[in-house]
């Protein structure tokens, strides 16, 4: 066991972890942050993507011990003061999710993508999200969701879906 200190979603945690504990298991099992998911064993699916020091990482491929001293943002930490992040809003508006299992990882990868490229083409979004698998949507509405967020983050007008009721 070793002791790590990690800032997750703005709060500092100190925990004992086994040297082999994966970051994703640390987040899910020790911190009970279950929004980060596990969909494979081989680093393909991207359901576990979180931000580590501002950059997207697959938390199934990072040891918890490697996160010692790092700042981690998970899907639970993305909305600020009850206000959805434009990406979360975009996924909702554009029907960018169905079962929602890949969604947290998809949103965190898209977050990194938009930091690097605030005005991506559809093709750049498709390539940028190659590390995240979705089995439900066929990706079209994910692309639209990211475009919605990109436009909103650039301060442009965005078109919203009708609100029920």
């Amino acid at each position: 066991m070793s002791t790590i200190s990690v800032m997750v979603n703005g709060r500092t945690y100190k925990n004992d972890v086994e040297p082999r504990t994966l970051l994703v298991h640390y987040l899910r099992e020790q911190l009970n942050l279950t929004g980060t998911h596990i969909g494979c064993d081989t680093s393909q699916c991207g359901a576990c993507v979180v931000l580590m020091n501002g950059t997207s990482v697959k938390s199934c491929t990072v040891l918890a011990a490697q996160a010692d001293g790092a700042e981690i943002t998970t899907i639970e930490g993305l909305a600020q003061s009850g206000q959805l992040h434009p990406l979360q809003e975009g996924f909702w508006e554009k029907h960018g999710l169905q079962c929602g299992f890949c969604t947290p990882g998809m949103i965190m990868s898209a977050y990194d993508l938009l930091q690097q490229n605030p005005n991506p083409t559809d093709e750049e979004i498709r390539h940028g999200l190659e590390g995240n698998l979705c089995r439900c949507t066929g990706y079209q509405n994910i692309v639209k969701a990211v475009q919605y967020a990109a436009a909103k983050m650039r301060g442009e007008e965005v078109e919203a879906a009708p609100v029920a009721g």
Binding site: R20, T21, H25, R28, N32, L33, T34, G35, T36, H37, I38, G39, C40, D41, T42, Q44, C45, A47, T74, I75, E76, L78, A79, L84, Q88, F91, W92, E93, H95, L97, Q98, C99, G100, F101, T103, I107, D122, E123, R126, H127, L129, E130, G131, N132, L133, C134, R135, C136, T137, G138, Y139, Q140, N141, I142, V143, A161, P162, V163, A164, G165
Partner: protein, 787 residues
């Protein structure tokens, strides 16, 4: 239906399911932690076929943190898992898995032993300490080879590994049509094995309460009521009421999560034995090895016709690979859900389909999105294209010439289905042709070929069967299931005016909470936000058959619609009493009941519900509360249809296929929520494109799964699929009052053949008339180069 401007059905409303899922607040199986919960890990057979001579668990048991190690011998008090849907009208040589295998392993990944430990990592560690003495046996993985002389025999009761021989249609007529035809085209068409791959794998958490003798099971199930029935009545031999099944959020199903798997049995068994909750969640490799796969047909098909393009006969002979054992509804898929719809959108006067269900040393094969209909649709659309090429006729025109016509509905295709409900196939074809610019395409194609560029266009005109439920069909003994798959709905209006709907349907990505609430809002005239949809827990919902077979709107939705209609009738009677009027004079509209002509003197549904609940003045004989339940058994299935067109370019030098455009014109009946409809189609189309170009579940000759991880199984990423161009025609279904058909599987049923027909069209200058899926660069390059 009401016709007010606030009508919700038909609107692209964003989903009410989403807020929890986009903020990480979903509650999926692996997110659940119970006090004292133990973790299970399963030792899986490395051999595809072997005798288990001995298992030594002593070292594993002694490992720190391990609570128990079990083998199949420990669980002999449990019955084998049930095969609930056998092929109808014929003998099925049934062999199903046990909670853990006893004596033999039938495929790589078969469950041999179970470690239960305090921690997931420790449980996995201990698997390595179990010593098993296997005696490997000969292996067969190919369904056709498994039936040949000299093949290894998997089960004593299944000579030549044949589960069943099933047929439909008229053999004599089909034989005669083929022997007397002007033209016969024949092909061997393989519909390769696919792995469903919901991004969330499967699993179970079982808890046993010694004080009450009751189990609670959280599991990734698309049909929790059915699972409860099978677990209690068939496997444990305990009353159904001793088990509560809860499906938490489900991370995609696509059919794979319908079935009864052994983890339900072994977690329940171990939880009772150890007096502590037990959790088992598959990893991806386990999901690939040991959860069900889909498709895997080898088919010889012959189509007879005239030189003018008229189709006169169809004869099909299919070997369907069902794996090492039978999964819950495995034999029903390549029979009832396949052969009976094999004639597709065409009037074919003589058709016959023979199916051999076959055991092999592979993972069990059962329903995967579309379940039988994609295989049927691929077959007929591929062979019709092949026929068009043979007689030198435009493939669009061959289709048009043979379409079932609008006036032919209800249409009996002679294959033992209920009649197709409604259809109008030409407008969908025409719309798709217009969208793709068909009139100019052949010229573009010819010019491109001159430049050494190989463009191809593929058409798929499909029909499928939704709302798999009617007792009039699926309930008949000759269909194998032997019971109607009706769906339930309870609707209550609470005294606060809040409407609570409980349904046996179980959305896991389909957005049914949203669409069901849209239906209720319109029909009852209450605000959408005052409607709650409850599901997924056998405690508190009426028995229902669950979500699969594109049945939630047409069957589950109609059950809700009918319960709402009953609520309205009762509300009208009570309103008449409150208004001292004749019930026949009461109008119910927009959430209010009033005497015809006097809308100002209306009683709101809230007022009526309050009166019904406090119950101090009710009409004589009326029970308190607005509370109505329906068990809806539809008179027929519904038959969505449409035309999909793919345009591809093939690189002659590398064999790479680029999907340039994908057009989908679908008719799913009256639309409830276009946003959700398009989403369902997109996802289905992506799965069909993936079958055509990428995915392949492959075993080597020793029964090792070569496509055993997401590194090896080519699940498409965002850059591997195009933008889909979707459009619609609307032909309401006469089967249900809302005129809806269903959309959950249509995309997957329509798409693979559109892409393959396009690829083969592109390759026609090379004399290529057929190519098996997936059309990988290697396979295409070999075809071009004759290697």
């Amino acid at each position: 239906m009401t016709t007010t401007p606030t009508k919700m059905v038909g609107q692209a409303i964003k989903r009410r399911e989403d807020p929890q899922l986009i903020t990480g607040r979903g509650n999926f199986l692996d997110d659940i932690k119970l006090h004292g919960m133990l973790h299970a890990a399963i030792l899986r057979s490395p051999y595809a076929h072997a005798t288990i001579k001995s298992i030594d668990t002593s070292k594993a048991k002694a490992h720190p943190g391990v609570v128990a190690v079990f083998t199949g011998d420990d669980m002999m008090d449990l019955n084998p898992l049930p095969c609930a849907w056998q092929a109808g009208g014929v003998k099925n040589n049934v062999n199903t898995p046990r909670a853990l295998s006893v004596g033999k392993a039938m495929y790589t990944g078969d469950s041999i032993a179970m470690v239960v430990a305090e921690d997931r990592y420790v449980a996995r560690d201990a698997l390595d300490l179990i010593e098993v003495d296997y005696e490997p046996l000969s292996v067969v993985v190919d369904a056709k080879k498994a039936t040949e002389a000299g093949a290894p025999q998997l089960h004593e009761n299944a000579p030549n590994n044949i589960v069943m021989e099933w047929e439909c249609g008229d053999k004599a007529k089909a034989d005669a049509a083929i022997s007397s035809a002007e033209v016969v085209v024949k092909e061997q068409i393989v519909n390769q094995r696919l792995i469903p791959t919901p991004i969330e794998t499967r699993g179970s958490i079982a808890r046993y309460d010694e004080a009450t003798n009751e189990f609670t099971l959280w599991t990734t199930a698309q049909a929790p009521h059915v699972l409860r029935l099978l677990a209690t009545a068939f496997v444990f031999g305990i009353p159904e009421t001793r088990l509560r099944v809860i499906s938490p959020n489900i991370g995609g199903g696509f059919g794979q999560k319908i079935f009864f798997y052994n983890d339900v049995a072994f977690t329940m068994w171990a939880a009772r034995k150890l007096g502590r909750p037990v959790k088992f969640v598959e990893d991806r490799a386990e999901n690939y090895k040991s959860s069900t796969h889909g498709r895997d047909h080898i088919t010889d098909v012959e189509l007879a016709g005239k030189r003018d393009g008229t189709i006169t006969g169809l004869r099909i002979n299919t070997y369907a690979n069902l794996g090492g054992y039978l999964s819950t509804i495995a034999p029903g898929i390549p029979t009832t859900l396949y052969g009976r719809i094999a004639t597709g959108v065409y009037k074919i006067p003589a058709a016959y389909c023979k199916v051999y269900g076959v055991y092999t040393n592979t993972a069990m094969v059962d329903a995967y999105r579309g379940a039988g209909r994609p295989e049927a649709s691929y077959l007929i659309e591929r062979i019709v294209d092949r026929f068009a090429t043979e007689i030198g006729m435009d493939p669009a025109e061959v289709r048009r010439k043979n379409f079932i016509q609008p006036q032919d509905f209800p249409y009996d295709n002679g294959m033992g289905l209920l009649p197709y409900d409604s259809g109008n196939y030409e407008p969908a074809l025409d719309k798709a042709l217009a969208l793709v610019g068909y009139s100019n395409f052949r010229q573009e194609q010819a010019e491109a070929r001159k430049q050494g560029r190989y463009l191809g266009l593929g058409i798929s005109s499909y029909v499928e069967v939704c709302g798999v439920a009617p007792s009039a069909w699926i309930g008949l003994p000759g269909q194998g299931w032997g019971a109607g798959l009706w769906e339930s709905a309870n609707v209550k209006v609470h005294l606060t005016g809040q409407v609570v709907v409980t349904t046996g349907s179980l959305p896991h990505g389909q957005g049914s909470e949203t669409t069901f609430a849209q239906i209720v809002a319109d029909e009852l005239g209450v605000p959408y936000e005052n409607i709650v949809i409850e599901h997924s827990d056998t405690s508190g919902t009426p028995f229902g058959y669950g979500t699969y077979g594109s049945r939630s709107a047409a069957v589950g939705g109609t059950a809700i619609y009918k319960s709402v209609a009953m609520i309205k009738e009762k509300a009208k009677k009570l309103a008449a009493h409150m208004l001292e009027a004749n019930p026949d004079d009461i109008v119910y509209e927009n959430g209010k009941a009033y005497v015809k002509g006097s809308p100002d003197q209306a009683k709101t549904l809230g007022e009526i519900a309050l009166q019904a609940a406090v119950a101090y003045s009710l009409p004589e004989g009326m029970e308190a509360f607005l509370d109505e339940t329906t068990y809806y058994d539809p008179p027929n299935c519904t038959f969505p249809f449409g035309t999909h067109i793919a345009v591809v370019e093939v690189d002659k030098d590398t064999g790479a296929v680029t999907l340039k455009r994908y057009i989908a014109v679908d008719d799913v009946g009256n639309p409830i929520n276009p946003l959700i409809i398009d989403g369902q189609l997109h996802g289905g189309i992506a799965q069909g494109i993936a079958q055509a170009l990428y995915e392949n579940g492959v075993y080597d000759e020793n029964g090792q799964l070569l496509s055993g991880t997401l590194m090896d199984y080519a699940l498409p990423t965002a850059s591997m699929v195009p933008a889909y161009e979707t459009d619609r025609t609307v032909t309401p279904s006469p089967v249900n009052p809302m005129g809806v058909k269903g959309v959950g599987e249509a995309g997957a049923i329509a798409s693979a053949q559109a892409v393959m027909n396009a690829v083969i069209d592109a390759l026609s200058p090379f004399g290529i008339k057929h190519l098996q899926m997936p059309a990988t660069p290697e396979r295409v390059w070999r075809a071009i180069n004759g290697k």
